[in-house]
Point group: C2
Chain length 447, copies 2
């Protein structure tokens, strides 16, 4: 039987989870399909690949990563640990619960470093267009080799979309924004808070980006940090010099008017207003069109495109869980492709979607959402041979983490948590987060 050909688009944590899933099946003796992974950056790691560039990159492609200098994990690493490649295995000794970007890149890379996964990835190669051919039940995937600027097309039986959904910014407009003489940038283009020293800074938004870039600005000596919320304030016990105000109403030069009548002067605005699902290489019949949430519509078990079940998505959900969720998704997709698990009929899939959508629509609080995502991952792992892990303990970690942040948003990263995979307690880091300006792997592992 002619080998299936599988295209994976994107080599971030999700795409790499798919490569790892097939690799682990191959190591266990299974015959696996021909796999080609297209990655538009020069290296893998997705968001975790910091670049000083913003907007358009050296090839003329939209810059992918939204990460910035001095970015550290914003949740305990014990919540994202791979179930089949633990922190102990990679680092050989306990490390703190909140590593910086480069350390987590090293962990992602480490899992595949000694495998042949890299040979399956075509770097500096951007997916341009995916066309489904009804007659042959295949996909024509057209890509551009960004170095030679040449396009080429080839046929695949299945396509795995793993391009992430935190790279195309959602940039709303505000009355008078064009009169603001200071710097206006979206969190996607934020690369470091050094320039915010002595500045009066406004963050628009009240989620993770607003929270962390706000704290980064405070850490680097901003004169004042104001977060403007639309639906709900973060409600932390903010340090002196940080405040939350409701939504921006209009902007007049340097002064910003808020809907509660307050007015403040600012030097810089960072729009922490989230991201959109965007797949320029997909016809709309194959493309997710959903806000950022834990149950985007159109997907069976969060991964199979209901309208064309030979197309899969990894990492499409809003992310409490990340690395180990992408693994659970990848193992399940692999088993569908290898025929190890059967794909239910379109009607059964529709019923499954309907029941999970109903539960999703009834979620009332954040803790509900985390439990929903844990149950979602449990459902996937029960349908593949990915090692089950104590999902309920990870839910407790997320709940404790939220309390830590509410108590002190400057020191929550100094807390320690225990791995649910190995039982190892994280190390007490050599330097409190607020005093550490060097986010390198070398500095982090130095003492």
């Amino acid at each position: 039987m002619q080998k299936q050909r599988i295209a994976i688009i994107g080599a971030g944590p999700s795409g790499l989870a798919a490569l790892r899933a097939f690799e682990s099946a191959e190591r266990a003796g299974a015959a696996i399909p021909e796999i080609v992974c297209y990655e538009k950056q020069d290296d893998w790691g997705g968001q975790w690949n910091y670049s000083w560039r913003t907007g358009i990159d050296q090839y003329g492609e939209p810059v992918h990563s939204s990460m910035y200098r001095n970015l550290w994990s914003n949740a305990p690493k014990e919540a994202l640990e791979f179930a089949e490649y633990t922190f102990d295995k990679h680092f050989g000794r306990p490390i703190s619960s909140y590593p910086p970007r480069e350390v987590l890149w090293d962990y992602i890379d480490g899992r595949l470093r000694s495998s042949n996964a890299r040979d399956k990835v075509q770097f500096a190669t951007a997916a341009r267009w995916v066309q489904y051919n009804e007659a042959t039940d295949t996909f024509t995937v057209t890509v551009e080799d960004l170095k030679t600027r040449t396009t080429s097309s080839s046929e695949f039986d299945r396509v795995i979309v793993a391009t992430g959904h935190f790279a195309y910014p959602n940039v709303p407009s505000f009355e008078g924004i064009e009169t603001f003489p200071g710097s206006v940038e979206h969190a996607h283009d934020f690369r470091g808070a050094e320039m915010l020293a002595d500045k009066r800074v406004l963050m628009i938004g009240s989620s993770y980006s607003a929270e962390d870039i706000g704290v980064q600005a405070y850490k680097m000596g901003a004169r004042s940090v104001t977060l403007s919320y639309r639906s709900k304030a973060l409600g932390h016990d903010w340090p002196q010099g940080m405040e939350e105000l409701p939504l921006v109403q209009r902007i007049e030069g340097n002064s910003v008017h808020f809907i509660n009548g307050e007015v403040r002067e600012f030097d810089s605005i960072v729009m922490c207003t989230g991201y959109i699902h965007k797949y320029p290489f997909l016809p709309s019949q194959l493309a997710i069109d959903s806000p950022n949430n834990v149950y985007p519509s159109g997907l069976y078990r969060g991964v199979v495109w209901q309208e064309n079940p030979k197309l899969y998505y990894l990492g499409a959900q809003d992310q409490w869980f990340t690395f180990n969720m992408f693994d659970a998704q990848a193992w399940y997709v692999r088993d569908l492709i290898l025929g190890r698990t059967a794909l239910p009929s379109v009607q059964d899939r529709a019923a499954h979607i309907e029941s999970w959508s109903k539960r999703f629509s009834e979620l009332s609080c954040v803790d509900d959402e985390v439990r929903f995502q844990a149950d979602y991952i449990r459902d996937l792992i029960e349908n593949s041979d990915y090692p089950m892990f104590d999902l309920d303990s990870v839910v407790e970690i997320f709940i404790a983490w939220q309390r830590d942040k509410a108590e002190n948003v400057l020191t929550y990263r100094d807390k320690q948590y225990r791995s649910v995979m190995t039982g190892t307690m994280s190390a007490r880091h050599h330097t409190p987060w607020m005093r550490e300006l060097d986010d390198s792997l070398q500095r982090y592992l130095s003492q």
Copy 2:
């Protein structure tokens, strides 16, 4: 005979020139093909459509325009005047030789305002993929309606690519660039010099963007402005506080080392390093891959894609001439499509390309290049019914303009030139450029 269907991609000055060319033929009684123009912005005007946005726009598309607040024409308007819609016709009275952006947008828009051209344009619609079908000798053009996020495909007999080539930035890297704590942006993302007041600013590059953004920074009170050239300095008689240095060697925090050993401290860097030809919606067999010059390879008469003569480009050249060159190109392409002028054989086209390439390769100085482009336009106009105009006088305007800039880069925009179309002498403006901070149409036409 079933009407031909023509797709125009882009509604900047080039795309609008094509719409105008067909409209003028229709007004003169000719039957014209069905024309659909796709424009990804919400309005037409291309670069001349200022947006406060940078990087990625509200639809998740790369922001197109590179223009900024307080941008004024950087060459006399008498060099770009439409031969069949003069400044006198539009403004009804003499205006200065160097209008601001909004005034030239008004002039571009004015020519088509009373026509039905707008009905032929689908705004907020981005070309996604153009596929040539050998069997039917047609192009399948797939576009996305950015508002509804739905893609659709339709067949066209011919495609006119008018997407410009000053929107995808060329962003080189420099050793240590990632250590620069100040702001680093490309000219494409520059929106105004207000923030450069009291700053020590470095422009990398020595062409129009470096020249004008440097002067803008000086005008808005920068502490110092340094332009770093690679091949050749601009060599103007710079005012105190502006200087030219050779190329950047490396960057260490705020200090920049130049290849002649000089070192300077800077607060902001603007990379005025030009743009790349980029057509993400085209297979490479149909896509220009050329540096920015007056004779990009692969085009017959600068407009017909040699390898597939049913695909045309408008505005692909480096631009001394602009609006009236795009008109001459559009009129010629129209006449090819309407069959009014015959397309030579592929061999004859190749010979024509070879002779003009040879002449292009022998150009030695700037004045040669301007004359080359004037002769290029003459060759086009002689092959269509676009009104011929005194191209040699325009060449003289360009030569005098260069002298003006070399003498005083702050006041060259206060000079006056005579229209070659109407003989009207431009007006002396009510305010010297260096003292005018309001670039609005209303202010410009106020006295």
